[in-house]
Point group: C5
Amino acid sequence: MVGEKLMDRSPLKWIPLPRLARKKRPVALSPGSLIHLGQKRAESQEVTLIAYDESSVEIEKLRELPEKHHYSIPEKVTWFHVTGLHEVEKLSVLGEEFGISNLVLEDILSTGSRPKIEKRDTEIFVVSKLIVIEPGQNTVDVQHLAVLLLPDNVLVTFLEAPSPAFDPVIERIRSGSGGRIRRFGADYLAWALLDAMVDNYLYVIDRLDEAVASMDDRLQLDATDVDTGELYELKRDAGQLYRAIRPIREITGSLNRLDSPLLEERTRPFFTDLNDHGLQVLETTEDLRESVSALRDFYLAAVSNRMNEVMKVLTCFATIFLPLTFIAGIYGMNFEHMPELGVPWAYPAVWGVFALCAAGMLWFFRRKKWL
Amino acid sequence: MVGEKLMDRSPLKWIPLPRLARKKRPVALSPGSLIHLGQKRAESQEVTLIAYDESSVEIEKLRELPEKHHYSIPEKVTWFHVTGLHEVEKLSVLGEEFGISNLVLEDILSTGSRPKIEKRDTEIFVVSKLIVIEPGQNTVDVQHLAVLLLPDNVLVTFLEAPSPAFDPVIERIRSGSGGRIRRFGADYLAWALLDAMVDNYLYVIDRLDEAVASMDDRLQLDATDVDTGELYELKRDAGQLYRAIRPIREITGSLNRLDSPLLEERTRPFFTDLNDHGLQVLETTEDLRESVSALRDFYLAAVSNRMNEVMKVLTCFATIFLPLTFIAGIYGMNFEHMPELGVPWAYPAVWGVFALCAAGMLWFFRRKKWL
Amino acid sequence: MVGEKLMDRSPLKWIPLPRLARKKRPVALSPGSLIHLGQKRAESQEVTLIAYDESSVEIEKLRELPEKHHYSIPEKVTWFHVTGLHEVEKLSVLGEEFGISNLVLEDILSTGSRPKIEKRDTEIFVVSKLIVIEPGQNTVDVQHLAVLLLPDNVLVTFLEAPSPAFDPVIERIRSGSGGRIRRFGADYLAWALLDAMVDNYLYVIDRLDEAVASMDDRLQLDATDVDTGELYELKRDAGQLYRAIRPIREITGSLNRLDSPLLEERTRPFFTDLNDHGLQVLETTEDLRESVSALRDFYLAAVSNRMNEVMKVLTCFATIFLPLTFIAGIYGMNFEHMPELGVPWAYPAVWGVFALCAAGMLWFFRRKKWL
Amino acid sequence: MVGEKLMDRSPLKWIPLPRLARKKRPVALSPGSLIHLGQKRAESQEVTLIAYDESSVEIEKLRELPEKHHYSIPEKVTWFHVTGLHEVEKLSVLGEEFGISNLVLEDILSTGSRPKIEKRDTEIFVVSKLIVIEPGQNTVDVQHLAVLLLPDNVLVTFLEAPSPAFDPVIERIRSGSGGRIRRFGADYLAWALLDAMVDNYLYVIDRLDEAVASMDDRLQLDATDVDTGELYELKRDAGQLYRAIRPIREITGSLNRLDSPLLEERTRPFFTDLNDHGLQVLETTEDLRESVSALRDFYLAAVSNRMNEVMKVLTCFATIFLPLTFIAGIYGMNFEHMPELGVPWAYPAVWGVFALCAAGMLWFFRRKKWL
Amino acid sequence: MVGEKLMDRSPLKWIPLPRLARKKRPVALSPGSLIHLGQKRAESQEVTLIAYDESSVEIEKLRELPEKHHYSIPEKVTWFHVTGLHEVEKLSVLGEEFGISNLVLEDILSTGSRPKIEKRDTEIFVVSKLIVIEPGQNTVDVQHLAVLLLPDNVLVTFLEAPSPAFDPVIERIRSGSGGRIRRFGADYLAWALLDAMVDNYLYVIDRLDEAVASMDDRLQLDATDVDTGELYELKRDAGQLYRAIRPIREITGSLNRLDSPLLEERTRPFFTDLNDHGLQVLETTEDLRESVSALRDFYLAAVSNRMNEVMKVLTCFATIFLPLTFIAGIYGMNFEHMPELGVPWAYPAVWGVFALCAAGMLWFFRRKKWL
């Protein structure tokens, strides 16, 4: 339990740290001149080819740049999965091979560009963010993902670095001979990848939600135990997640309404489903932000309440001693003619006054509910 | 009265505890592979068959999985009410029997999925949340409800566990020979169930509204009597309710506009009415949240006012004794040449100074309205 | 002036007290079974018949339930004004007589149902809230109003209890022989009644606005004179008014756009005008709420400022006496070797030190603008 | 500079004081019975006739009510400018002369009615607010303005009282022989008047903006110099302005889209331009409100910061003297056996302790940055 | 690092200082009379001619006003770049030469007018704000930019003063023989200039984002190190930027949807791209404002927390000494019969009481977590 808490309290590390304004291409550069914008996230650029039909699967790490005609057979689904975006020239060659326009290649390379969907006559192009958090880890891996659906059952995907997010899909292809993914086309594969992406959003939300619940518990126990910085961090994390996920609405909505020869009728219900998931993820993220706000309000109110309580008790304390000290001061005066000073029972009487005074004030404070 | 209050103050227990991010199906699983997501809420999975026409009613707990052709006669309304969603294989068989696609079955099984409505050519499918609070209890039972309207007057409903929410409808079917429910078709039955669901929303709202009114009364009497935690809980409850109810707008709105052969013309006004109820429920929930916010504002203002008052009185108190103590201190000094000390009436005179000083300050504070 | 203030300060009494969640019909009840939901507001249920054409007016309290064919002549406008909704059976008979469907009758009886407009082929049905405040009184009378426009110039209105709100319209009918109301049909009468309803909204708004203005004046004079509870009450009143008035937008908007044979072309501009009034009333209510918010902000700022001022003055005061008391304490010490004690001018010198010290601190506080 | 400041600080006087709920016509009154609602703002009701074509201008204060046929020649633009709305009978006659319906006349007379635009077949009717602030003055003159564009190049305008707002337009007509205003028709004149109205909005905004800038400067110099009441007044002024200007969007938007034979093609770009101005004025007003909010936030933060600073310094001060006074108190005790009292260097040693103690605490406070 | 911080802390200087209400043309002026509104920003008005086709580039500072027919050949792109707007007569001549209407010229000259786009049959006219911040500088240069696309590949741009913002575009024209900019028409050039404008927005956002990040770091280290004024300045800067950028949505959106013969099909994707950039810039600005708000919340909470902590420690301190001083005061009393005074170990015993008392209270405060 304590370990759980500690895990939740360790702040999330976002890689790369999301910045509002992203590096943009140098202005002097003509558009269409390709340049990689972003960190180098992978050691080397790799292309994995996964080709399959109902009866056979072929998974291969390509050593050279693929030639399309070499691999692509319309009867098979051919998926080129490119990881690493820093070797621009290779991508340029790849682009030419697959007939990808330079503007599209630019969007693939600009890792800071806004998630969006573009539908052209012979391609559907989706840019989005893949957000992966490994179970038990605190590192949130935010990657630029581009999915390009081409005719003849060809799918090309681009990712900044290798990620485990798509492993389950690959596993499903490999193992599920005769399963739906093997019977359907590249559009279904595109759906499966985007659905995996949305699933991974849910895992990050889940993680933050756990942090919120754990902080809620701690606040209920002892509000002063929580630090302002922690709450602020939670709020920032929720905000960053929201900003990264926000454009998903447009993308899944578009895909749902899209009328393209690249999308078969039988995969349509899956994209409708994807849209539902997208909306749910968005709503959940908004609810998460609201929860964090509510936590913050509660925290502030609790801290302020506690502070007030402290001040009240202490001030009451001070107020009780003020008249007592005054009385003691009176009999510390050096007047020659102070008849009380000579009375034998005066000293105990003053003690009585002290006691009465203190008791009276205590009673008054209790009645007023100040103590 | 006290009992009333105590009841209202006992916090609501939500079952299951609504979490923002719900467990999702494992990513590796191919969609269409059925898996139950959520807690096991019922002991065993049961199917109740309620078949009726104008003249006869038949209510039967089925021991085996129903075969559709066995029961369904188009002239009769046939309602299969399934409670318990954990026995996946049985549901799968049922699905095949009734021609329910796997995607629909998945939505039925994923108890965390978002309320929605789907209209296909030969079915209307509604997923929603049934929220039931038993009178006098504090347990809010949130269940995943699926309603599937099929041709030939067949209605299939799925619920996580048995619930008293639909008992009145069943009672109406049983008793009301010749009543409207017995004369109309399965679409009317679907309306009756959804209307019962919306009615139950109102009961929960009503319960929270009572809690708000009771807290309002307590705040008016003595703001400090209320605890921050209670207000926060009320806010959270209102928020959870709102999140659960929010999608009802889409559902009832869709049903109202829906043009489907499954909905007869004569039931149309009832769905319009349902839409009105849905909107009213939503507006009321929003108003509830606003009331809670207003309560919170009032509470904070009242607490802060009270604190200020306490501090003011106490500080005035302290300020009165400071000069008095100073004067006493003066005549406690041991200078050899202090002419006042030898004057016989000096001591009573100092008492006079004390009294004047205190009275003057009291008068000043009163005039300034600080006391 | 004082009387004015006192009047404004007395809180409004809402009858019935608006509650968020209203009692709903028992779920087990089949829809269409009529039941009165709400308080019994009138002693007995009465039907007033007002029939008129350009040349004659007939106003009659009907002792028995009216038979439509008996009274209604298409050339005359026939208005049946029903007050009191608790005698359900009578209403049921009336409904049958006028061909009012049970669903409409239900909406008439459910005093908590949401204001709305329904247009059917042969009727226009408006449910709304009549909100009346008598001048000089504090009681806000909120009544459920149903207006049913039928063919052949028949208008039926239902009200929970008699109300003075429609008296001016009746007066206009009675006195204004040859006036527009006597020349136009039942649609114009419906407009006149709804316009009177909107006018009465303005009177309530006006009353609250006066309360806001009066509180504003009091805040400007002396912010601490105002109580948090009063502001909260004002806010709650404005909120309740807003919630009751809010649906007017739909109703007047619909009527403005409505294309129905029941509405003559010549009354059209009046419904456009009604829509303008409706929008103005809504905007004004929103502005009212904003004014109350602004008042509250100002109040909080003023109270906090005043508190700060009090604390500042008092703390300065305390700070001045602390060093003085310390100095007095020094010379109260009983050391044998304190050379100052024997110096003849030491005592007056200490007084000088006291004066200098106090003056120096006062000067410092003034320069820092703390006093 | 000081004069500037003083001018800005003097609060704006709104004439008439905008009230949320305006006096409405007595309910008993049949609509169409004309009655003037609002203050009497002008001494007497006057009609100014301005008739012009490219070659000649005629400006005349009419002593009697104009007869339309007498003045209006389609080749000339004829502008009847009515100031003063309290002589209802005259307006009624005028209305008949010009074929103005009673409903329109009512809108002209109800000075509290909402700004709007109405397009009928043979007239365009705009009701709006003219808001004029004289340079160097603090009086904001809010007037009810009605503009009525009729066929045959006739324009009739109604204003509560004479206002300098339209003088520049009249000057342009008078002087600009051959200028555009003399060549174009009455629609251009209507545009010119509405544009002058929007310009005058900008002047009021400008005035408030200056007040905001000046208060900003004062806040930056010394936040405590500013009074809560001033900020509240600024906020209220900005709110009142916003409420008065808000409906301009509808009016200019409508005029821009309007397809009417009364609007010539060549004046169309001017109405597009007017729409731009209207939008800019609205946006600027919204920005103004936001600026005032930001000011208020800054003020509250600054005041609270300053207060905190004051409290901190003073409390540190108090804390330093507490232990000193305690030590002095110790050696003021009258025990017979206090060895320190007899030590010759004890007194100076105590002074050393005092100094050390004070210095230590000062150092501690400085290190903690509390001072 | 320190240098970085210092740079970020120096507030941005906006030139010209954005004011809400801008000087408007004198009302008396007939529209179409040209007048320059705004500061004189450039020494002299200059026209630079840049004419190019695929094979040749010609860049020339024109000494006289250009005659259109002299320079413009449809086969070449001819760009007239005017800097300085104060020489109105020259612009008027230019306008006539290029057939620019007076209304358009007015918009060019009114530097305070709202960004907008206007499409006429033979021209596309964009008014916007160019916002440039030089790297390492704090001066934000806000200029009024007008772009006018005319037939025959003519582009005319107007800028208040020379700016380095368009240098990269000019460089691309000059150097990139055979590049896209040289092969495409004037519409592509317009795109390139607007894209450069949007890029420059990003640089300013980036600068503010850095300031936010740097302030965030400082807040995390020591919240009291940050001044309210700095946060307010940041907020104001973000607000000003937002207001200046806000209209970009309309402009890029319009350009994207625009169907004009002046826009070639092949430049269409670039305008789609520009729209994406515009949206991203807007979203980023909104996120920036949100970040500043969050910073402010965190700052306020941190300052208040710190203040509370200070007060708590100090008050505890005071509370410890109050009873001690009281006890010392007791034995400073001069009663003749105080048996304790004669006891030899009384003095050390009192010291023991002092120690116990202080220790007890310290223990109590620690247990209550007040220290």
